[in-house]
């Protein structure tokens, strides 16, 4: 177990956040625990092309997909469940805060309108701020697919945002989620 504790300490937060945002919900902790155990058992296969984090996240992504399969459904409420309630870092301009918060809720509502594949790419690439390689590993896609899918998903998101107005209905749905 040489040094594995170090890797646990270093990567648990990202792995957990990834599992939550990919829809593992309350099972995120189990997913990450399982991923760390499997990662250790497979260390012999580790080649280090894109770093340990990408390698671990690939297992986290896979475990989360297995979870969706076993549930036969996906926790579509994940983004709604996690958005909005926590005050972010103190805004530079306090008057900007309410507007920014509304904009974020609007953005979440727009993300819910994308299909899962598009949303997952945006979640990994931007919300989790993973690299293209890490996103590819996590979602078991090629880097080319990540690039093109992210491009299309952003375009679609922009279109959704352009059409939608931050109406009361959406705001209520977000707050109630």
């Amino acid at each position: 177990m040489d040094g594995y504790e170090y890797l646990l300490a270093r990567h648990t937060a990202t792995a957990h956040r990834t599992a939550v945002l990919l829809g593992a919900g309350d099972d995120a902790e189990d997913v990450v625990q399982e991923a760390f155990v499997k990662a250790f058992q497979r260390l012999g296969n580790y080649r280090g092309e894109s770093g340990f984090r990408a390698w671990l996240l690939a297992i986290v992504g896979n475990e989360t997909r297995n979870l969706h399969r076993s549930r036969r459904r996906r926790d579509g409420l994940v983004l709604r469940a996690v958005v909005g309630l926590r005050p972010g870092p103190a805004p530079v301009d306090p008057s900007d805060s309410a507007e920014a918060s509304e904009r974020r809720q609007h953005l979440v509502a727009a993300l819910q309108r994308l299909n899962e594949r598009e949303r997952d790419v945006l979640v990994c690439r931007y919300l989790l701020d993973l690299s293209e390689s890490e996103t590819a590993a996590t979602l078991d896609l090629s880097k080319g697919t990540v690039k093109s899918r992210a491009f299309r998903a952003l375009a679609k998101l922009r279109a959704v945002l352009g059409v939608e107005r931050p109406g009361a209905g959406i705001a209520r749905e977000v707050a109630g989620g």
Binding site: D2, Y4, Y6, A13, V37, L43, R86, G88, L122
Partner: protein, 254 residues
């Protein structure tokens, strides 16, 4: 990227990511390490659920992660882990090199500028807390070595059982003070800390204040447990079993 609008939307999504209220990550180390310690177990160990985030333990984890800047690279799997944390081989102020060396070593010679001291004197001189394991009690002999210009020793050694057991204490948080060449080291969980256990005799060399290896101090060390409590590093040598070494390590009194 090319399209400025796309760039700002991407930035907005990143910003959203920072504002998401994701539950705090639990400390998974105990559960994972338990499961890894029993690799032949067929059904998974009971999974832990914590009612609230255990922030203090997490901070300890981060603190120890900073100290554990490296690993023993021996098997391919271990090499992978070492590679993943950029291959440095340091733990608790001790540098560990995985190669096997010629076991013919010169007769043991002391650390630089070593001299006997009383326990109280060593405590007064040292810049780190000198702690005594309750399991072993008052040391039979104490030595201080490699003093700084102000007289504070870099290493304080406590001797027991006629010198067969020694506990080296030093401030190893900054740079390594010993170099070990060893294979087959294993991680051991102490009460709140990690330790490395070297079951087999192995060569150990002192690295002095200037960073130079003191080859003349090279000697074969018996089974050894090394660990750190964050303020000092410890190296317990000469206890035959891991269990006893662990008990002694956990009995260090302030």
């Amino acid at each position: 990227m090319v399209n400025p609008t796309e760039g700002s939307l991407a930035a907005e999504l990143r910003e959203l990511g920072r504002h998401l209220d994701v539950p705090e990550a639990p400390d998974l180390r105990p559960a994972v390490l338990d499961r890894l310690a029993a690799p032949h177990q067929t059904d998974p160990a009971p999974r832990r659920r914590f009612a609230f985030p255990r922030r203090p333990r997490w901070l300890v984890a981060v603190a120890s992660a900073i100290l554990v800047c490296a690993l023993v690279a021996v098997s391919p799997a271990r090499a992978a882990v070492a590679d993943a944390v950029d291959g440095l081989l340091r733990f608790a102020g001790i540098e560990i090199r995985p190669e096997r060396v010629n076991p013919e070593l010169p007769a043991p010679s002391p650390l630089p500028s070593v001299r006997h001291a009383g326990l109280d004197e060593a405590r007064r001189l040292a810049n780190f807390p000198v702690r005594v394991p309750d399991q072993l009690g008052e040391p039979e002999r104490v030595s201080v070595a490699d003093p700084a210009p102000d007289g504070s020793p870099r290493v304080v050694s406590l001797f027991y059982r006629g010198g067969a057991v020694r506990l080296d204490e030093f401030d190893g948080a900054l740079e390594p003070a010993f170099m070990k060449q060893a294979q087959g080291a294993e991680w051991v969980a102490l009460d709140g800390y990690s330790a490395l256990w070297f079951p087999a005799p192995h060569p150990v060399t002192y690295i002095d204040r200037t960073g130079a290896e003191r080859v003349e101090t090279a000697r074969l060390a018996g089974p050894t447990l090394i660990w750190t409590d964050g303020s000092a590093s410890y190296r317990l040598e000469g206890v035959a079993t891991r269990e006893e070494a662990q008990r002694i390590a956990e009995s260090l009194s302030p």
